[in-house]
Amino acid sequence: MNNLSREQIFKKLESVENMPSIPATLDPLLRYLSLPVDQLETQKVVDMISHDKSLTVQCLHLANSPLFCRWQAVDSLRGAVVALGLGRMKEVALACSFMKMLPRQIGGIDPVIFWEHSLGCALVSRHLARKLSLPNAEKAYLAGLLHDFGIVANVVTLPKEFGDALTVAREREIPLHEAELEIMGITHADSGRILAERWRLAPELVAVIACHHTPELAVTDRSLVALVNIADLLCRMRNLGYGYPERRLVDLATEKGFGVLVEDCPTLGDFDWARLTFELDNYMFEVHRLVAALYRIQ
């Protein structure tokens, strides 16, 4: 099915002109938001966001979602920035950039479904990090949001090969990364690492993007990588995957990510996974609704 060798695929991914870049309108904002939070000025962030209509509307939707700001009604951009917090603006801007990069029609994958999975994984990663009292739950959110960065690279750079892999995954109801490996010789984790390094994402994000299917191979930020690995798996088993059910049985205790996570969190075996699983259904409903609203504005 695939005509390109693994080496040719890597070469293609590594060539600068093929890889997606940060949308020009958001680049200055992302650079500004890289400053420490205490050096950011709310009005300046509001002004910069207001140059981008879709980001403005996205901020308003997020600020009015119970997933982010419970029970507050927000009707101005400034109100939304304040409600969400300056510390979260980088996540929102990155997410918006991410959405802008995805073509409307991607060889068989519905961008809405892809985006739902990313947002679902972000929320579950954050939820799990809080429940397990792991440090920096907000870092877990961004890591979950961007974990499938490599899919963006694949759909833009290798649309035919990725489309073939997705077809195989869907027909056989197997995990997407297994089908990618079979068809392309690489996975979205490999291409994600290349793209993440090019975008100069934070090292912990690069680790998550590169190793979220092989957490045992992560050399840095192992617990964050493992956390996203588990969150990703739970989303895929709970109808927040890539638009098809994976025909499998998952025993978390035998998963490699669980083994890594338990090193940092010895109480993991006593954690109430059943309740967490039921709680995930909440996210499913809200994520569908939020992404539908966000995508209408792109």
């Binding site: 419970r70 029970w71 109808n239 025993d251 109430d272 996974w273 309740r275 809200e286």
Partner: protein
Amino acid sequence: MTISPAPEPAFESTSFAPNPHLLRIRDLLYQTAGTFHPDHRLRFLQDHCIRRMEELRITGLREYLGCLTAQHNQQTELTALLNEMIAGETCFFPNAPHLNALRNVILPRIVHEKSSLPVRRLKIWSAGCSTGEEPYSLAILLMEESKNLLADWSLEIQATDLDERSVAHARKGLYDQHATQNLTPQIRQQYFAEESGGLAISTQARSCVTIQRLNLLDDSPMSLIGDFDIIFCCNVLIYFDLAAKNRVLQQFLGSLLPNGYLFLGHTESLFGLNDGFRLVHLPSATAYRKQARVQERSHS
């Protein structure tokens, strides 16, 4: 055979601040009964509570929480609320994700694991079968699979319930419109016959089902039941206290084959109850699997 999801009541927005007393009732139900209402289903829990409050002629959730926790009345009111919650769930194919996971994941695994055995036999126990909708749904699913995956397999479904009237109803096998609402035209035509008063289950679907009265807390007849690949026990354990739950679960461990599966109601949990079972995730569903080398010891 495709099992479509049962009609879902209109989803209510979570954009309302949950009543703190409702959240306490939710937690109480999870701690005592083991059934959980996620946020997006809190409106349904509230509706169930309101119906009980109307019955009791009280007006606030705070007061109703008091009823649920009052020493003298606790078990009675909890049972009444649980009855309210599961009323209407007794129908054919009530939980599509469970049954799809059974068909697409669990059955192929069992067939694979038992493929080298001389006798190809699949045994399922529907524990707390109520009026028979669950065991007959399972029978229909297995019959459909016997066209391919389960061809040449011996299929046995043991259905038990404590209540004599329910057992009699199950044996009679006549069902009204509510119970049969999820049937596809093909299933309806192939496995049911029109009779006055509803739809009667066919002889074919009955052929692999045995129905008997059994008290899950009565140890002596329980010990005679065994070698099951799968147990379904939906919305039954929620009525038992902790000690009784553990007793029944220990019996289930003894009745299941190694690596056998236990399916509970779709929001029921065994958290903290018995380490002989381990939670497994299936597509949009969960189940429990008996640990292969579990010691079948008392777990009180």
